[in-house]
């Protein structure tokens, strides 16, 4: 589904990603771990198409199509979804209206008609129940005054609404208490299918107890320096990142 080859990217002329190779197949869950400043968030943002990050080399293929020249919305229309580490507050735009616009713009881009209001309401009801979101919450301004947990739950709610092919969860566990973590992870797990794939970016192993990865990659200094199965995450939890740093820096 996703093939990344020799991906290099910089921000303001500082190279952050120094050649990443990664292949993700449908139905898989990949975790990307690594110490602070290793380039995890940059990686997520580059795939989603954030303009401030300049991709200087390499390729990103989604289902055989090179997407690195596409605008963020065009990538979204092809099924890329990024759950933000820091979801942006948008005063004056309600959650419901935001979702309606996002879904209908995506459908328009895919050559489909707008979703009938009735179906939209049904979908919103269904998905908000999945994330245990109070209905009142949906008429509030997007992320404005939301707690950390509410913001993250809202991200996964959006993911559930948009049903992406490739979901990238950037530090979705940060700022979550254990109950919120369970709800969010449960939501992500219910959305998993043999046709979609998930990339979980996290500093800690905690989230991976709930969303169990097929592969774990360690990102350090802009490169994937180690890959393994889910046991690698446990090892990192026990031993920290220093031994990897030492191995790489040696």
């Amino acid at each position: 589904m996703l093939k990344i080859k020799n991906l290099k990217a910089s921000i303001e002329d500082k190279e952050i990603l120094k050649g990443i190779n990664l292949e993700i197949k449908p139905g898989e869950v990949h975790a990307i771990m690594g110490p602070n400043g290793s380039g995890k968030s940059t990686f997520a943002n580059v795939i989603a198409g954030r303009e401030e990050y300049e991709m200087t080399d390499g390729s990103i293929e989604l289902d055989g199509e090179e997407i690195s020249e596409l605008d963020p919305e065009e990538r979204a229309h092809r099924g890329v979804f990024l759950s933000f580490q820091y979801p942006v507050e948008i005063p004056g735009v309600s959650v419901t209206n935001f979702m309606k616009t996002a879904i209908n713009e995506t459908r328009k881009a895919q050559g489909k008609d707008e979703m009938p209001a009735k179906d939209m309401l049904k979908l919103i009801r269904e998905k908000s129940e999945l994330l245990e979101i109070d209905r009142k919450f949906l008429s509030r301004s997007l992320n404005e005054g939301f707690s950390g947990g509410e913001k993250k739950r809202n991200e996964i709610f959006q993911m559930a609404m948009l049903e992406p092919k490739l979901s990238i969860l950037d530090e979705t566990d940060s700022g979550l208490d254990i109950d919120a973590l369970r709800i969010v992870a449960n939501g992500v797990n219910k959305l998993k299918s043999k046709d979609n794939a998930t990339v979980v970016i996290t500093h800690y192993q905690r989230l991976l107890d709930y969303i169990v990865p097929d592969y774990v990659h360690v990102l350090y200094k802009g490169r994937i320096v180690k890959s393994g199965g889910k046991e690698l995450a446990h090892e990192l939890e026990e031993r920290g990142y220093d031994w990897i740093k030492e191995e790489v820096d040696a």
């Binding site: 198409g49 954030r50 605008d71 919305e73 979801p87 005063p91 616009t101 996002a102 713009e105």
Partner: protein, 437 residues
């Protein structure tokens, strides 16, 4: 012919058409003298520092456009609030159009200024109110000298006007350049209520300069809810002087939506003459190209225990220019005043300009006055966030701008006016998404 010569010869022509012995004509002659003395406002005048009217006054305007213009309802329907039942006072090229209008003398007078100025039964209202608060700056005087037509609204005590009143001035462009001098008078009696929507619309690409004066009187406990929709084409310019006088416990809310026109100047003056008055001055401005909109507001608190609330949200693209000059005066005896002023601006392009000048003069010592002014850009993080959810750049921008202006739209009391404004904004921003939030 210079503008001034044109004015003088046009005035002579006017005198042959009107009753020169009337009360109002006395005002006209005085006003003409005032205009001749002061002349057209210049950039060196503090009040016009950021707005040059020079380009407006170098044209050879016809002050009396041809009167044989004929327009059909279907041509102008889209400019009217056809979704709801309204009273309508409609003018075409400065002349009242009875076919398109719907006036009344039933419980209140909603009719023409020309008949109010000529009939004796209106004389007391005219003599007590006409040109009493409009002021005598040169362009107001110019209007007073030439005004013959406009909307006359007089509501007595204890009555709520049954439906909103639309005042619409169309110009057909049957002259190369026409100057209009409409004059509105709104007198609302004790404990009465009225809602008004005003619009000036050019139907051709010929130049039109409208110099309109409106006087609004709200007696004790009266409520006036007024909407100005300024979305004219780019060959049309508008100079609007609106003065409001409020007695105790009255509430006057005035919204100005500025989206169109070449040069627009809004002079909006509120005078609170009684205690417990409430004044609201709200505006949304969205400009592009070389459009220029100047809001000069004044709220004069002369009595204690009153409130005023001003909120202007403005967005400027391309080389457009905005001016916000908001004055609040609080007299020494006007204690316990709560005056709020907020002016938020977004500059979309590097070439757009906003000149913002809040001005507070407070002589009372126990008041709450606050003002805030911000100038910013669209939030890039928010743009990326929306785009990453599949919302295109143009649509994301529109949503953000609309959200920015939404607090003002929320204060619109007539739902159909709100949805009309929403549609105009969507059209202006070139998007088809539903912006209703």
């Amino acid at each position: 012919m210079s503008f001034k010569d044109n004015i003088i010869s046009s005035f002579i022509a006017l005198e042959s058409q009107v009753d020169t012995d009337s009360y109002v004509h006395g005002l006209r002659s005085d006003a003409l003298k005032q205009f001749e003395t002061v002349g057209i406002p210049q950039r060196k005048d503090e009040a016009y520092k950021y707005t040059s009217l020079k380009s407006l006054f170098n044209k050879d305007y016809s002050l009396f456009p041809k009167t044989d213009s004929h327009i059909e309802y279907r041509d102008i329907k889209k400019y009217l609030m056809h979704e709801i039942d309204t009273y309508k006072v409609i003018f075409v090229d400065g002349v009242y159009n009875s076919q398109l209008s719907q006036t009344t003398h039933d419980k209140y007078d909603i009719c023409l200024m020309s008949s109010a100025l000529s009939k004796d039964k209106y004389a007391p209202v005219i003599e007590n109110h006409y040109n009493k608060i409009a002021g005598n700056d040169s362009l107001t005087s110019l209007n007073t000298a030439f005004a013959r037509e406009g909307a006359y609204i007089h509501v007595g005590k204890n009555v709520a006007v049954r439906k909103p009143i639309e005042i619409v001035y169309f110009s057909t462009g049957n002259e190369n350049a026409a100057m209009m001098q409409p004059r509105n008078l709104v007198v609302v009696g004790e404990n009465s209520q009225v809602q008004i929507i005003e619009r000036h619309q050019s139907l051709s690409s010929n130049s039109v300069l409208t110099n309109v004066v409106t006087e609004i009187y709200a007696d004790q406990r009266a409520m006036v809810d007024y909407y100005k929709i300024q979305n004219d084409n780019v060959e049309a310019s508008l100079i609007d002087h609106t003065s409001v006088e409020q007695q105790s416990n009255s509430e006057v809310r005035l919204h100005t939506f500025s989206f169109g026109g070449s040069i627009t100047r809004n002079n909006l003056y509120f005078y609170q003459k009684g205690e417990h008055c409430n004044s609201l001055l709200n505006g949304v401005t969205i400009l592009e190209g070389k459009q220029h909109v100047d809001h000069s507001t004044l709220v004069h608190h002369t009595q204690p225990n009153c409130e005023s609330y001003q909120e202007y949200k403005q967005i400027f693209d391309d080389r457009s220019v905005g001016v916000f000059n908001g004055k609040v005066y609080v007299d020494k005896i006007a204690q316990k005043i709560n005056a709020f002023q907020q002016n938020n601006n977004i500059l979309i392009s590097d070439k757009a300009t906003i000149n913002a000048k809040p001005q507070l003069e407070i002589f009372a010592d126990d008041v709450r006055c606050s003002h805030g002014c911000t100038i910013g850009q669209l939030d890039e993080d928010a743009m990326f966030y929306m785009q990453s959810r599949g919302i295109g750049k143009k649509e994301a921008r529109a949503l953000l701008m609309f959200a920015f202006a939404n607090s003002v739209l929320e204060s619109v009391k007539i739902p159909e006016v709100k949805s009309r404004i929403t549609k105009i904004i969507a059209l202006k921003l070139g998007v088809e998404i539903g912006l209703e939030l």
